[in-house]
Symmetry: D2
Subunit: 473 residues, 4 copies
C-alpha cells in the first residue's frame, strides 16, 4: 500500500481528495454500495452518489467480465496494487468527474488552499469507510455489487496491513469502527479519534459511550447545523421533486399528498410540493412539529383520515411501519408510495410480498403492485430512500459534508491533550460557522462584520461563535 | 391501408387513440423527431414526448440494423403493410405504455365514453402529422432519425393514397397543410377543416387567411385557455426544474438566475425557481408583462446588467438572438445557458461554433463550451427547447391537448353549413370550458352550479360560457 | 363656479389633480360616500379611500355642527363659493395629503410633465362624479353622510350651471351619465365622450349600446389590463390580509379558509392567505378557473362540504346569495364572514336580521351575530366590500387608475373624427402599455428594447403594441 | 388587599386569569406601558398589547381628568382599594374584552379545566410584573403614562404589603426581581422560584447565576420552542405586513427591502415580504444564518451595497447602530425605516435629532425626517419595535405565552425538593410539547400516536419527549 502524497495523479475519490493536501496518510475507504437496506438509519450523502452512480453506470454492467474484483490483478498508474476495484482503467473517467465536481466545491478548495502551508494532517494515518461515488476508480477497496462477505473482506484488507497502522477513523455507519473494536481492539491505543457522519453510526457511538466502552474521542458531524440543514431540509426540498419526476413523470399541480413526519426532511418535502401546487397533508407524533406544520399551512391528520384520497404518500419519519399493509389496501388506484426517511422499513414493503398481489417492474426503481381487483399501487425504490435511489445529490451538498469531515479530522487530530475525553462531541459551533462561511462565496454572499462597539454590546467575539448552543436556527 | 375500426388491438398511438371510438377513419401521423430545430416556433407537447422517448430508448440505438425503414418490409399483426416504422415488433411495448398513460388521461376516456354512442366522427377521414411518442410502434410513417427527405416522403405516402382521400386535417406545425397546398390543392374540395395546435402552424394559417388563400375553416387550438395554461404556465413551472436537474444535478437554492421573457412560460419558470430558493431576475420588452414581473417580486433588468453575475440564463421569449455572443463572452465560469422558449434561435448558438472555442460533450444534452482562458459555459440541448429535450411532458398535459384536438375535430366536422367560414377560429369558449370540466374529476374537484336565480342575476346560462371573450383568467 | 387654472393652490382632489396641468376646465366630482351598498357592482378604487377616510375620521363626526352643508355659506381661499363641502377649512390638511400622495404617484407626475407643453386637454370641460378621498376638502359638491337626495342634488348642481357646459364626462358607476341622459339629454350634443371606470357603469354603457341609445363614444377603462390586475389581483392580495387583521387581529397561520370564486380577486386572496400559512379551499362555477385553482394547490369544493370546519369565509364572486342563511347556520362558533367581491349581496346578510339572532357591534365594522345557542358569527363590514370598508387602497393603485383615466380622456378628446363611433371601447392596448411603462420607474425597472432585426422577426413595432388583443397576461 | 378566590367577577387581567382556577393567591402585576425603550431587549408579548391599546385608546386621552392615579380614591366592585388604576369604572369593558379573548385561548381554558380539580397552585402567592393590556381595568397597580417614579412606586406597593408575602415571582424584564433583590432580599427565603419571560430578564438571571448570586431556581420560558417560534417567526411573519400597512398604506409588491438580521424575526419578515412580491435583501453577521438566507432565496449583502436603492429598511438584529446616520444620509427619498428587533437602538435615531433635519409627525407613529435638500425618510415608531407600536399581537400568541408561564409556575411550585437548584432552567421539553399539544385542537389538528412497537424501535416514551435537547425544529 502506498502513502498518499499529494502528487497522486489518478486519485478518483472526490470526498477525501481534499486531504491529499494536508498530509501524507494512509486512507482506506470502502463501502458496499448495493446493500443500502442494511444500514437502515443512515442518511448518507455518499450513499446517494453511489446509487446515482449505479444507475448512471448501468450500461457498463453488461460487461462480459464476471471475474470477482477480489480475483483480479490490477495496478494503478503508479504501479501500486494496494486496492481492489472493478476496473482501474476507468481512473481517467473518474479524474475528469472530479475536476468537474471541484468547480462546485470551492469551499473545499479554499480550505485546502489555506491548509496547504500548515499541513494540519501531517502524520495523520486515516482509515475510512464510506460510500463511494461515480468518480471512484481511485485505488480503494470497493466495487458495485459487493456481497456482504466482500464488504467485510474489503474492510479487513484496509485495516489489517503490515507495517501501517491508522491513527484516525473516518466512518459512515459505524461498520469500520465496529470491525476494529471486534478484531483489532489494540489499534485504538494509537487512534486519536473517530469522525462519524451517519445517524446510525452516531447512535452506535452514543450507545458505546453510555456503556462506558468508547475508548477514544468521537466527533458527531451528523448533527452539525450546516450538514443537517443541507442533508435534510435544503437537499430534500429539491430531491423530492426530482425523485418523483424521474420515476413517474407525474405532474405535481393539484395532486393530493400526505407527508408522514414534519422534521427537516418532511419540512423540505412539504415546502417543495406546496410550491408546485400540490395539496399537502401532514402526519406527526410530536406536538411541536405538528404545530409548526399547522402554522406553515398544512392540515395535520392521521394517516387513516386521508389514505383513501391521496395521490402520493411520502414517509419521512425514521420510524418503522408508518405505512402498513392496511393503509396500502385502502389506497386508491395509481397511488404513489415512497420513502424519504432514514429507514427502508417506514413502508411495510414486506407485507406486499404475498401471493395475492402481483408485482410488475414498469421501469427502473418503479414497481406496480397489483391487487386482485386490478388496483395498482406505484411503489418507488421498493421503499428504500427515494432521493438516494432515484435522484442525485448536488455536489454542493457533498461539499458541505466533506468540509465538515475535514475540519472534524483536523480538530480531533490537533486538539491539545485533554480537550476531548472518551466521549461523543458535536462539532464546535465555531467550526460549524466556519464551514458555512467557506460556502458563502459560491453565492457571492457578503457577510457583515461586527464593529468593536457592537461586539462589546452583544458580548460576542467578532469572529464568533455567534449563538448560544441551544440556538435553533 | 386499413381503416381503423376500434378493434385494432395493436394501436400504439396514444394521442389519436381516442378517435378510434368515434369513427372509422384513415389516420396518418408522422413527424420526424430528430430535427426539432427546424420547426422553430413550435411548442408541441408531443415533440417533447418524442424526445424523451429518444433518450429513453437510446440504448436500443446501438442495434446493428442500419437498414432504412423505407427499405424494410414489415407487417403488423393484422397483416397490413400500410405503415413505415423502425421495428413493428415493439408494438406490444407501445400498447402497454398506452395502457399506463390511459390511467392518467381520464378526461379523454370520459369523452370517448360519451362519444361512443354518437360516433361524432363517423365518416371522418383524418390525416394527421404530429410528433410521435415512446408508444408509437403503431402503424404510422415515422421513425427516429428521419432525414429531411424521409420526412417529406412520409407525408407524401400518407396523403397520396389510391382510393382514399382525407376530409379532415390534424396538423402540428403546418407542414402537412403546406404539402397539400403545394402538391394536392384539389384535395381541399373535400376537406371540412384543419385543426392546428402549434404556434408556427397557427401563424402560417393567419398569414394564409390574411392573404385570402385559406380555403377551408381552421381551428386554432393552440390559443385555447386550457391548452395555453397547461402547455406553458403549469407545465413549464415543473419542467424547468426537471430539465435543469436531469442535465446538471445542480442545486437551485441561492442560485442567481435571469429569465428572459415574462410570458406564460417565463412566469412558470420564475415561480418555480423562486420557490426553490433561487434569486431570479427578469428581462422584458412589454411594459405590462414587465410590471407583472415587478409585482410578483422579480427585479426587472436588462440582460447586460446581470450577465456577469448570474449562474443560469433561461430564454423564454420566442424571439431571436436574445442571448448574443457578446453576452456569452461576459458570462462567468460555469454559467448554465438554456432555452425554454419557442425557438432554437433565442440563444445565438451559431456564434459559439468558432475555432477559438472548444466544445466538450460532457453528457447527453450537455455541452461545455470552453473559452481560451479556460472559462466554461454549460450549454443545454444546444439551445433547443430544454423541456422537450431534457425533460418529459406529463401525461396530464397530453390529455389536455388531445381532448382539445378531439373536440375541435368534432366541432368542425359536425358544424352546420355556414357556421365557420374560410378563416381561423379560436376554440369556442364553451368547448374550452368543457375540456377543463372533463379534467376536474382527476383532482376530485367539485364544481358549484349556479342556481336559477343566480344565473339570472348574472345574465349567464347555467352551463356556460361563463366569461366574456376578453377575460384573461 | 371657477375654471381650474393650474394655479389653484388649494385643490384637494388627488385623482383629477393631474388634469390641472392639461387644460382649463370645469370639473365637478361628487360622490356620496356613505351609501356604498347601492352601487353594488362597483369595485371602485376611490370608494375605498372614501371609506377608509370615513372610519379614520369617525371621531370627528361627533362635531356639534349639525347644519347640512347645503345650508352653509362657505368660500374657498380664492373667494369662490362654487362648491359644497362640510368644512372648507380642512383644505390645508387635504393639500398636504395630496403632496404626500404625489410622491407615490410618479407616473401621473411624469404624464403631467410630458403633457405640460401640449396641453392635450386645452378647451376640455370635464364634469366628473366619483368617490372622493380623505384629501377632498377641495371645492367639490360632496360630503360624508350625504343622503340619497343630497347625492342627486350635488350632481345636479354640477351639471346645471349657467354659462358653462361640459364636453367630457368622467364617470364611476354611471349615475352622472344617467342623470344627464334623463334630465339634460341635449347636453350630449357637445359631449365628445364618456370615460367610465366601474363594473356597474360599464355594464350600463354596454346595455345602452346594445339598445342603440348610446349617443357618444365611451371608453371602458375598467377592463384595461393594468387597472384590472392592480384593482383586483395585486391590490386584493394585500388588502385581504390588511382588512382581516385590522378588524379581527386574528392570526392567519393554520386557519382554514374558504374563498368563493377564483377570479382575479379570489386568486389574490388565495395567494396571500396561502403564503401566510392558511389552508385555503376554493369554490367555483367556471371549470377553467376551477382547474386553475387545482393547479395552484387549492382543494376545489362545494361550500357545503367545508362550511362546518372553516374559520373564515370570503366571497369574491360578484354573484348574489353565495353564502346563504343555511350556510351561516352551519358555520362553527367564531367563524369570520366577509366579502371581497363586487356586491354586498354575496352574503345574505338580510337573512340574519331576524328576531332570534342577536347582533352585537364589537368594534367598528365588526358585528357578532349570536345564535340562540350562543354561537357567534363574526360578520365584517355588514357584508360590504371588506377592502373598501376595512382597509385602504395604496396610492400606487390610485395612480394606475388616474393615469388610465387621464389617457382615456386625452384619447377621446383628441381622437380624429370617426375613430370612435357611438360605442363602448376598451382602452387601446398601446395606451394600456403606456400606463404600465409610466409606472416602471417606481420599481427602478429597466425595459429591454427590441432591435430592428428582432422587431422584424416578430413582426412587431418596436414601440408596441406587443401582444394580440386576445392575449391573457 | 384581597385574595383572589376564583369568584372574583371583575378580574380584568387576561394573562393571569387562568390562575384564578388554580389557587388562592396574591397577584400583583404592573408595568409602566409608556417607557418601552428602557427595556430595550425585551420582546414581550404583552408589551405589544399594551401599546396597541395605547394607540387605540388615544382619543380618550384628552380626558379632563389630570389627577394622578396615585392620588385617586377608587374602590372595585368588591369594595377593595388594594389597586391603583386610572379608572376602575372601565372594569366592565375589560371584562368583555377578556371574554372575547378567551374564545381564542382554548388551550389556556383546557389547561384551566384540567387544573380545576388539582388546584396545582393552591397556596401559591404570586407577585408579578408584566405589561398590561386593553383589558386591564382589573385591580392592579398600573396606568398609561406612568413616570419612572410611578413605575417603581407601583412595584413597591405590590411587594411591600403588610400581612402578605409572595412565594413565586412572575417577571418580565427582571425589574420586579431586581427590586426585591435590592430592597427586600429576605423575601427570597420564602420564594420557590422565578418565572421570567423576556430576553432582558433572562439575560440578567444568567448573569446573577454566573456571579453565584441567584438564590432561587429560575425558569427561562423565553427560550421554550413554542414561545420562540410564535413570538418571533410566526408572529413577525404577520405583524411586519400589518405594521407597515397600518402606518404607511404602502403596497408591498415590487418594493425593494433590506432586512438586517436573519434570525427567527428576520426569517419571518423576509418570508412574508417575499410572499407579497417584495424583493428582499438580507444582511447577517453569522455565516450559518447567512447561508440559510442564501438557500431561502435572498441576496446576502452588506447594508452599504443596497442602501441607496431600497424602499424599506427593517432591522431585526438585537444589535445597536445597525442603521447609522451615514446610512440614513444615503437612503433615497421616501425610504421607510423601521425596527422589528429587540432594541430601540438598532436604528441610530438619536443621530437624526440634529438641527439641519426637520421632523414632521405625519400621523401617529410616523415621522418624516426631512433633509435640507428636501429628501424625506419615513421613520416608524421612532425606531422602537414596529410590531409592538403599530400592530397588534394575536390572542393566539398570548395564549402560547400564558400557557407556558402557567406551566412553568406549576412546575417550579410543585417540583420535589432538589429537582431545581439555584440556577436558570429551560422549560422541560415535555412541558414545551405539552404547551404545543394544548394548542393543536384550535387547528382541528390530529396527532398520531406511536404504537408500542414503534416507541420501542425509536427508544422513546409514547408520551414524549420526542426529541433530543439539541434538536433544532
Amino acid at each position: 500500500m502506498e502513502n498518499w502524497d499529494g502528487n497522486e495523479g489518478t486519485s478518483a475519490f472526490h470526498m477525501p481528495e481534499w486531504m491529499i493536501q494536508f498530509a501524507d496518510q494512509k486512507q482506506e475507504f470502502n463501502k458496499r454500495p448495493t446493500k443500502i437496506g442494511r444500514r437502515s438509519l443512515s442518511r448518507s450523502i455518499s450513499q446517494s452518489s453511489t446509487d446515482s452512480y449505479s444507475s448512471a453506470a448501468s450500461y457498463t454492467d453488461s460487461s462480459d467480465d464476471e471475474t470477482s474484483p477480489r480475483d483480479k490483478q490490477q495496478k494503478n498508474s503508479k504501479g501500486s496494487s494496494d486496492f481492489c476495484v472493478k476496473n482501474i482503467k476507468q481512473a481517467e473517467f473518474g479524474r475528469r468527474e472530479i475536476e468537474i465536481a471541484e468547480q462546485e466545491m470551492p469551499a473545499l478548495m479554499a480550505l485546502r488552499k489555506r491548509a496547504q502551508g500548515e499541513k494540519p494532517l501531517a502524520g495523520a494515518k486515516i482509515v475510512g469507510c464510506t460510500h463511494i461515488t461515480a468518480q471512484t476508480a481511485f485505488p480503494v477497496f470497493a466495487w458495485k455489487g459487493e456481497s456482504e462477505d466482500d464488504f467485510w473482506w474489503c474492510i479487513d484488507r484496509c485495516v489489517n496491513v503490515e507495517g501501517w497502522q491508522p491513527n484516525m477513523i473516518l466512518d459512515d455507519g459505524g461498520d469500520l469502527t465496529h470491525w476494529i473494536y471486534k478484531k483489532y481492539p489494540n489499534m485504538f491505543k494509537k487512534i486519536k479519534g473517530i469522525v462519524e457522519e451517519s445517524v446510525t453510526g452516531v447512535h452506535r457511538l452514543y450507545q458505546l459511550s453510555k456503556a462506558g466502552k468508547l475508548c477514544v474521542p468521537a466527533m458527531n458531524v451528523n448533527d452539525s447545523v450546516t450538514k443537517q440543514k443541507f442533508d435534510n431540509l435544503y437537499c430534500c426540498r429539491e430531491s423530492i421533486l426530482d425523485g418523483l419526476k424521474r420515476t413517474t413523470d407525474m405532474m405535481f399541480g393539484g395532486k393530493q399528498v400526505v407527508v408522514c413526519g414534519y422534521g427537516e426532511v418532511g419540512k423540505g418535502c412539504c415546502a417543495a410540493l406546496k410550491a408546485m401546487g400540490s395539496i399537502v397533508y401532514v402526519t406527526e407524533i410530536d406536538p411541536i412539529c405538528a404545530l409548526q406544520a399547522c402554522m406553515d399551512g398544512f392540515r395535520l391528520v392521521k394517516l387513516n383520515e386521508v389514505i383513501r384520497q391521496v395521490d402520493i404518500v411520502i414517509t419521512c419519519t425514521g420510524n418503522k411501519n408508518v405505512v402498513t399493509r392496511e393503509h396500502l389496501d385502502r389506497m386508491k388506484n395509481s397511488c404513489i408510495v415512497c420513502n424519504m426517511g432514514h429507514s427502508n422499513t417506514e413502508i411495510d414493503v414486506a407485507s406486499l410480498r404475498t401471493p395475492e398481489l402481483t408485482w410488475e417492474r414498469v421501469r427502473s426503481q418503479v414497481d406496480h403492485v397489483i391487487w386482485p381487483d386490478g388496483k395498482r399501487i406505484v411503489l418507488l425504490a421498493e421503499g428504500r430512500l427515494l432521493n438516494l435511489s432515484c435522484s442525485t445529490v448536488p455536489t454542493f451538498v457533498l461539499s458541505i459534508t466533506a468540509t465538515t469531515q475535514a475540519l472534524a479530522l483536523i480538530e480531533l487530530y490537533n486538539a491539545p491533550e485533554g480537550r476531548y475525553k472518551q466521549d461523543v462531541y458535536l462539532l464546535p459551533k465555531k467550526m460549524d460557522e466556519y464551514v458555512a462561511s467557506l460556502h458563502l462565496p459560491t453565492f457571492d454572499a457578503h457577510l457583515t462584520e461586527l464593529t468593536d462597539e457592537q461586539a462589546k454590546y452583544l458580548g460576542l467575539n467578532k469572529n464568533g461563535p455567534f449563538k448560544p448552543n441551544y440556538y435553533r436556527y
